[in-house]
């Protein structure tokens, strides 16, 4: 008998309540018992819980008995909301037929609501608008409905009002999923074709592959072939995603599941690759995923050069679970061996850094993030520079171009002034604003990507008290007057701190960078000058004075233990510092350089 299956995902602007809604669905379907329940069930990573964001999409299978009397297998894929992880969203959507578009009844439609809707429409998904947080006093259901029709062009009759917090409307939502989301289809009698959408590494079981079967079926014990890698494996275990893995003997077309096949070679499993049967191989692969284009680049080095091998293994495993991460080996005279990495945005960079440090217990130094510049030399050749180290001699440069984005910012109109100032400070151009609701404005502007990657989103959140939403797409390259600013610590150039900066910004940037570094580098027993320079010209300077004494006055009885513990802490702290010449630079200092004062 064919199972009744519904594959759907939840998409929303950040903070509109996706993960809470997922929690409620898990409870309502009895997927998780009251005893095992805790908030944000699907955000399993520490970073997700701490920051209250979803980074990875997660899949879970729920069983639901509908009012029509049938048992349904509901496969829910929870997705990230932050603009950096839009790529992760696209991949999740490709495994679904339906999408719940969650809109906060108090906030209304936001930039990511629109962006996510377009992505869902590109995949031909059935979209169910879900008006969430209707329990809030500030909820404005009618206005939100108006926006759903007016701004999103969706049918309000399809919408469901819920409160993920109180559980109100959850039954109705489950019924709407069963009724409106199409069954997956896909022929079971064709040879197997399944698309890998994610995978994780388990030290005991090897790579665990997450996939959706488009055609055919897959059984325990069968031989499978990863098409792109050309590697054959035997399925040891397969099953559904519960809150824990739930093994089963067979999965068929339309179903989402995992498989374990003793895969130790991480590089054999690629997201987007097609799994086929080894005995009865299908001829053609499924369409893969669009190649991700990283927009922010930074090099990662281990603090201690002995950890390079560990970092290398960690990168491989992380890549398995984060297909959007790109990297290649680099070496630097000051920092040793490391990796030049491409990220989707700065939050992505921070998440990768944190995951490497927590999940793999590594201590790392990251160089100043930069975008990819296009440089035309006087001899006519064109260079793509994503690492300030490779910036050519300025006299040989004919033209430098930098990537631009089209930014869309939606916020209550009272913040127009503050946001406009922020955009102009970041060299924004072609600025337009448009009322999209009664008191809500969408500002669009062209901005250099380099001005946005670092802390634009945080700044926007802060000037709009959290009400501003942001989305962007990369549009083109435009000429820019850029210079390379180097930072010298104790007269030694610290490659990791070099940045390409707009000429007008170079001095203020260097001044702030030196100031920030001064506050991060501990005083040492000698004087340390910190300088910002363009070529040979010094444009900013700070001095860390020498430590002229380093002892505490009293040391009796209990002071000995206290002091020893303090010294041990200092010693441990030193292990997390990178020696540049004779100066120990704390890891934090490498990113502190980028903090701006605006």
């Amino acid at each position: 008998m064919r199972r009744h299956i519904r594959n759907f995902c939840i998409i929303a602007h950040i903070d509109h309540g996706k993960s809470t809604l997922a929690d409620r669905l898990l409870q309502a379907t009895g997927t998780v018992s009251a005893r095992d329940f805790h908030d944000l069930m699907l955000d399993t990573m520490d970073i997700e819980r701490e920051r209250g964001i979803t980074i990875k999409s997660t899949a879970v299978t729920m069983n639901y008995k509908s009012k029509d009397g049938n048992e349904y297998e509901l496969n829910l894929i929870d997705t990230p909301g932050h603009v950096d992880f839009a790529y992760e969203v696209s991949r999740a959507l490709a495994s679904c037929e339906g999408a719940l578009l969650v809109i906060d009844a108090a906030q209304g439609v936001e930039a990511q609501t629109v962006a996510n809707l377009y992505k869902a429409m590109e995949q031909n998904l059935t979209v169910i608008p879900v008006i969430n947080k209707i329990d809030l006093l500030s909820a404005n259901i009618l206005e939100t409905m108006g926006e759903i029709e007016g701004e999103l062009g969706l049918n309000v009759d399809d919408s469901v009002c819920v409160s993920a917090k109180t559980g109100e409307g959850i039954e109705e939502l489950l019924e709407a999923i069963v009724e409106k989301v199409p069954s997956p289809g896909g022929k079971e009698d064709l040879p197997l074709r399944a698309r890998i959408f994610d995978s994780i590494y388990d030290p005991y079981r090897g790579v665990i592959v997450y996939f959706r079967i488009e055609e055919g079926s897959i059984k325990k014990g069968e031989g499978i072939l990863m098409m792109a890698a050309g590697k054959e494996y035997k399925v040891e275990e397969l099953g559904h995603f519960g809150i824990k893995r739930q093994p089963c003997p067979e999965l068929t077309a339309g179903e989402v599941g995992y498989l374990i096949a003793g895969i130790k070679a991480v590089e054999d499993v690629k997201s987007g690759d097609t799994v086929i049967s080894a005995e009865n191989p299908a001829g053609k692969p499924l369409e893969g995923y669009e190649e991700v284009k990283p927009v922010v680049f930074s090099s990662i080095y281990p603090v201690s050069s002995e950890d390079y091998e560990d970092l290398s293994a960690a990168m491989e495993r992380l890549k398995l679970n984060d297909a959007s991460l790109t990297y290649e080996k680099v070496s630097s005279p000051g920092l040793g061996f490391g990796f030049r990495c491409g990220f989707l945005g700065l939050l992505h960079l921070e998440v990768v850094q944190e995951r490497l440090e927590r999940e793999f217990d590594l201590s790392l130094v990251l160089t100043a993030p930069t975008v990819k510049y296009r440089i035309t030399l006087t001899d006519g050749s064109v260079l793509n520079v994503d690492n300030p180290v490779n910036y050519p001699d300025p006299v040989k440069i004919q033209l430098t171009e930098e990537p631009y984005i089209k930014a869309s910012i939606i916020m209550p109109d009272r913040y127009i002034g503050a946001v406009t100032k922020l955009i102009l400070d970041r060299r924004g151009d072609n600025y337009k604003n448009l009322y999209v609701g009664k008191k809500r404005v969408e500002i669009t502007a062209d901005l250099p990507l380099g001005e946005v990657v670092y802390d634009f989103y945080d700044k926007l959140k802060s000037v709009t008290q959290g009400y501003g939403s942001f989305d962007y797409e990369i549009t083109d390259y435009r000429a820019g007057d850029l210079v390379k600013v180097d930072i010298l610590v104790n007269h030694e150039k610290v490659e990791a701190l070099s940045m390409l900066v707009h000429r007008d910004r170079a001095r203020p940037w260097a001044v702030t960078a030196c100031k920030n570094l001064k506050s991060e580098i501990h005083r040492q027993q000698f004087k340390i000058p910190i300088q910002g320079a363009i070529g040979g010209q010094i444009i900013s300077r700070e001095t860390i004075t020498a430590l002229r004494k380093d002892v505490t006055a009293k040391c009796y009885g209990g002071d000995i233990t206290r002091k020893r513990k303090l010294l041990e802490k200092q010693k441990a702290g030193k292990k997390r510092m990178k020696m540049v010449g004779s100066v120990a630079i704390p890891q934090k200092a490498f990113l502190a350089v980028l903090r701006r004062e605006d």
Binding site: C555, G558, K563, K574
Partner: protein, 327 residues
């Protein structure tokens, strides 16, 4: 305590003279009945200026104390006020004279430098006054400003300004110079003794890692080898335990060889006696960083005589940072 042999006794950390001399008499008698005090050479009690009379001092002397530590802090009344002290410099001098009359064999004065508002000149005049009083021992402490205190708040908000590091260094060297010139031995970073016989035996025992027992809330004890323990900090809980015949220890730790080495070096670098390089290496199995040692010798912070490493007055100022780098 039972059956132990004690060589020094120290009543301090707080204001022990708040308790009447009769208490201390009983206390010392109690210690003597439980343990062997026949070898006690030094028996110190702390007193704040103006808080004890000559009669009480005589009584304390009678009870068995032979050394008095007076918390003078400064001979400058304005600075005493900044420090939140309720006594005056006249009272400090008065207490010193009373102690002399009470025939304390040894008197030590605590002085403080690096106090907000204090000039180098004022500090030097305090030191010169010491030359006049001729105590057996002086401790010169730089004021450490502890986070969370009123002083910390005042300094952070700019109400008070602490003399900067360079001035504090000058004050340290002024003490070294003036006191050494008038016959004191600078035998520990903060301690000065009028000749070898006036060196504090009790304090030195902390620095040579002699075993000790601490009585009272928060007091620490050390077995002389690897175990350090400390008492409960709450007076109520402390009393409850003691009254029920239980140990008042809150917790203890057994330190590793590396930790022991760190302690020996950190303490050794504070003291003019220094430490024996080979002995530490043999006892703990830890190898001391020779490159860093050579840098220290180059900077004249230590001198090597045989296998013994002896810090200079300059070297003592870096005892904390250098001990970390030597391991």
């Amino acid at each position: 305590m039972n059956g132990r042999v004690f060589k020094t006794i120290y009543a301090g950390g707080g204001t022990p003279t708040l308790l009447p001399p009769a208490f201390w008499s009983e206390f010392l008698a109690g210690v003597t009945s439980l343990s062997d005090t026949s070898e006690v050479k030094e028996c110190t009690i702390e007193a704040n200026p103006g808080a004890v009379t000559e009669r009480e001092l005589c009584a304390l002397r009678q009870a068995g104390f032979n050394r008095l530590s007076i918390g003078v802090q400064s001979f400058n009344d304005t600075l005493l006020e900044t420090l939140g002290r309720i006594h005056s410099s006249d009272q400090a001098i008065e207490t010193f004279r009373s102690a002399r009359k009470a025939r304390f064999r040894s008197i030590t004065l605590d002085l403080m430098y690096g106090v907000p508002g204090q000039t180098l000149k004022e500090w030097i005049s305090d030191l010169e006054y010491i030359e006049e009083l001729t105590p057996e021992h002086v401790s010169c402490y730089e004021l450490s400003v502890i986070e969370g205190t009123q002083m910390h708040k005042f300094i952070n908000t700019g109400v008070l300004t602490k003399p900067d590091e360079e001035v504090c260094r000058e004050m340290y060297f002024a003490a070294d110079e003036i006191l050494t010139r008038s016959g004191f031995l600078h035998y520990e970073v903060s301690s000065y003794a009028r000749g070898n016989s006036c060196v504090s035996l009790h304090n030195s025992s902390y620095w040579n890692r002699t075993p000790y027992i601490g009585l009272g809330p928060s007091a620490h004890s050390f077995d002389g080898k690897a175990r350090r323990s400390w008492n409960l900090s709450s007076l109520e809980q402390y009393l409850e335990r003691v009254e029920n015949g239980q140990s008042p220890a809150a917790d203890s730790e057994v330190i590793t060889m590396e930790q022991a080495a760190l302690e020996m070096i950190m303490l050794g670098l504070r003291c003019s006696a220094g430490f024996d390089l080979k002995k530490i290496e043999t006892e703990t199995g830890i190898r001391i960083n020779r490159d860093y040692l050579n840098t220290m010798i180059g900077k004249k912070r230590v001198q090597l005589s045989g296998t013994r490493l002896v810090p200079t007055a300059e070297g003592m100022l870096y005892a904390d940072g250098d001990s970390v780098n030597l391991i």
